[in-house]
Symmetry: C2
Subunit: 165 residues, 2 copies
DNA sequence: TAAGATTGATTAATCAATCTTA
DNA sequence: TAAGATTGATTAATCAATCTTA
């Protein structure tokens, strides 16, 4: 099974893409922290909880939606509970389970963070690219995602589901 | 300072891109660890060193090329030195500086990992895209990188420097 | 005083083991 | 015995402070 080395062009594309995504991540992370005091994991937990109208979710479902290990989520929730961003409630249906609930403070912080994050995304990512580039990037991302994890439900799928409903 | 919420198109592009990069990262990380026992940071350090013909590099340049904080690199190098993957040598030119050198073991591990990784990259990323898409992705990545961290030295710069030397 | 780099303390992520109830 | 979740130990990343030489 021979595998020829990457060409100079392939290497250049990969290195540049990889640097871009790591630096973009870093930039957004710092911006979020500076604007709202939340880390990216904090924000992701709260933003995921806010997808439910009652702002609460079972711990296991939260882990699934974020693609996290359960133990990582448990540690994260402990810290967020100590800071008053979420609380945990016993689950009536299943005494093994837990409801994770965003507090009023958590909701407030998450909503404020969302505004800043939108601006940061436009400033560092969406706004840097022209219309053709945005379209190309959507296509490219879709193709790669379909290869590495076809099971993940993208927004297209969500829209397709919604439109058939 | 008003910031309108993301349009559906913006959100779709961001969500798809973000899912793509996290799933791609996960896929490559698992593959690398399974094939070679190296973590992604281990591999990135070694692969970057191997870009020099003498397999050694100044610590600061290594950090720049990878887009890392110096302290992160220093801790990482300490661990890699303990495992025999790299060594550090005093720098004759500038007594404040350090040469980071890949050991024979480090080179061997990196070369073995590179074969697997090249196949994994083509399989999950480069090979999924056609020629126009690869070109577009290089342009897009360069533009975003230039915005979020213009100081980072891309391979283009490195080649430009090399060709003038 | 700045550049190059390291250190130590804090915080976060990962892994295996454990606890409780279905 | 499995599902839901937590815990504690280990490992890694981040931040501010420090050290040495240019």
């Amino acid at each position: 099974m021979r595998t020829p080395p990457l060409t100079e062009r392939e290497r250049d594309i990969w290195v540049t893409f990889n640097l871009m995504r790591s630096q973009l991540e870093l930039t957004l992370e710092r911006r979020l922290r500076a604007d709202s005091g939340l880390s990216t994991p904090d924000y992701d937990v709260l933003a995921t909880l806010l997808r439910e109208t009652d702002r609460m979710m079972r711990s296991g479902r939260l882990a699934d939606l974020m693609g996290w290990e359960k133990s990582r989520l448990s540690h994260q929730l402990k810290r967020m509970e100590q800071r008053g961003l979420i609380t945990r409630r016993e689950c009536g249906d299943d005494a093994r389970g837990v409801w994770v609930v965003a507090t009023a403070d958590g909701v407030r912080d998450a909503l404020a963070a969302t505004r800043d994050r939108t601006a940061a995304l436009r400033e560092n990512f969406l706004g840097v690219l022209d219309d053709d580039e945005l379209t190309a990037l959507r296509t490219i991302s879709g193709k790669v995602l379909d290869r590495v994890n076809p099971a993940v439900c993208t927004s297209d799928d969500a829209e397709a589901l919604a439109s058939t409903a």
